[in-house]
Symmetry: C3
Subunit: 155 residues, 3 copies
């Protein structure tokens, strides 16, 4: 049990735990935003969901694709595609004994880039705002991957 | 080596390992269900897949979208969106020294909610069955995130 | 701090760290391939992206679905569906004290199967090339899940 406590007592690991949780909560928020847009625009993917808003023929017209809903869904999928690598590589990076300040720099820039990316996607801001925020998070993840492979390479 | 053994010997960590594996296996099963529906309804996304069922023009008619296949795929994507946060936050939660009974309560409710969610999606059950099962898993994950941030906050 | 160093000094864990990073980098590469195809075929999902290539009506014609882009996106989603279980189950497997040689066998076959799967999807190779490479990675993940549940089962 002592070992577990020591893992979470390590400052780099605490920083990872904090920022990983923050970006996952941000990603989870996309589900609520999708639900909000589906309800306000009445655009559903499943007949049983549309049925809450009308019966029979009336329900069918709510089975449709709405551009705002699709935008939120693309944002959510982009989160998955980028936050999953951060979770995996970031965990291994946190275990590879980086300097606390360097680790914090990586985690903060990544979290900041994903939060900015969400605003850039949903407002939407003109390009290349979204492209650059995506690339920032991408480069941070590559930088952590380089440290992991330098520390732990065992092919 | 001793340290690794001690990590997996911790009861809370064992519980996490068990339930994380169970929900991941459940999610992996969605691939088999998709394959089953694609083959029985003959609805494929790739020309090279349809080619196994007919040549030339005959193959083209199998390149189509089937509502049952799309339902399984939406269920699979919903799993990804919800099980990824559980994996990440649940791991950090398991390392934050929760009571075993509290941890088991979280893991069991989450796994149960995702299994029920799958039945609610695929049968399908009338709403709000699916909505409530989704929300149950969502709230469990938020509760674990709260414990992680309370234990390890390091911004 | 010593404990963290010891975790990453464990050879099985190093092997996991290496192969998890490799498959995540491979998955991240799909984003670049998608961007490349979107730009060369001029097929965008967002009006603000198409706006870089033309104004007003000219931009609208770039808001379209291209079969090559969709193929890369299906490949990317398939990566997510299969690499997420590998990350989670593989981490727990690495902590369940497997033999180094057995662990390396699992990790190498999984990484190889996903790299081959990408070539089979994007060239594309005739079936069952892609199907078999997918199934190989799937079976490896199930085998690791079996070891995890045998070592750590705590329901």
């Amino acid at each position: 049990m002592a070992k577990l406590t020591q893992l979470i007592d390590n400052e780099v690991f605490q920083a990872y735990a904090t920022y990983a949780t923050v970006v996952l909560l941000k990603m989870m928020m996309m589900s609520l935003i999708t639900a909000y847009f589906r309800m306000t625009t009445k655009a559903f993917a499943n007949p049983e969901d549309a049925a809450s808003f009308g019966k029979g023929e009336a329900a069918k017209k709510y089975l449709r694709i709405d551009p705002d809903v699709e935008r939120v869904r693309r944002n959510h999928l982009n989160d998955l595609e980028n936050i999953v690598p951060f979770l995996g590589i970031g965990l291994l990076y946190a275990l590879s004994s980086p300097e606390l300040s360097t680790a914090l720099l990586h985690f903060r820039i990544f979290a900041g880039s994903r939060i900015f990316h969400t605003f850039a996607y949903l407002i939407p801001l003109p390009q290349p705002s979204r492209g650059l925020s995506w690339m920032t998070g991408y480069v941070v993840t590559i930088s952590m991957a380089y440290k992991v492979l330098k520390t732990a390479l065992h092919l």
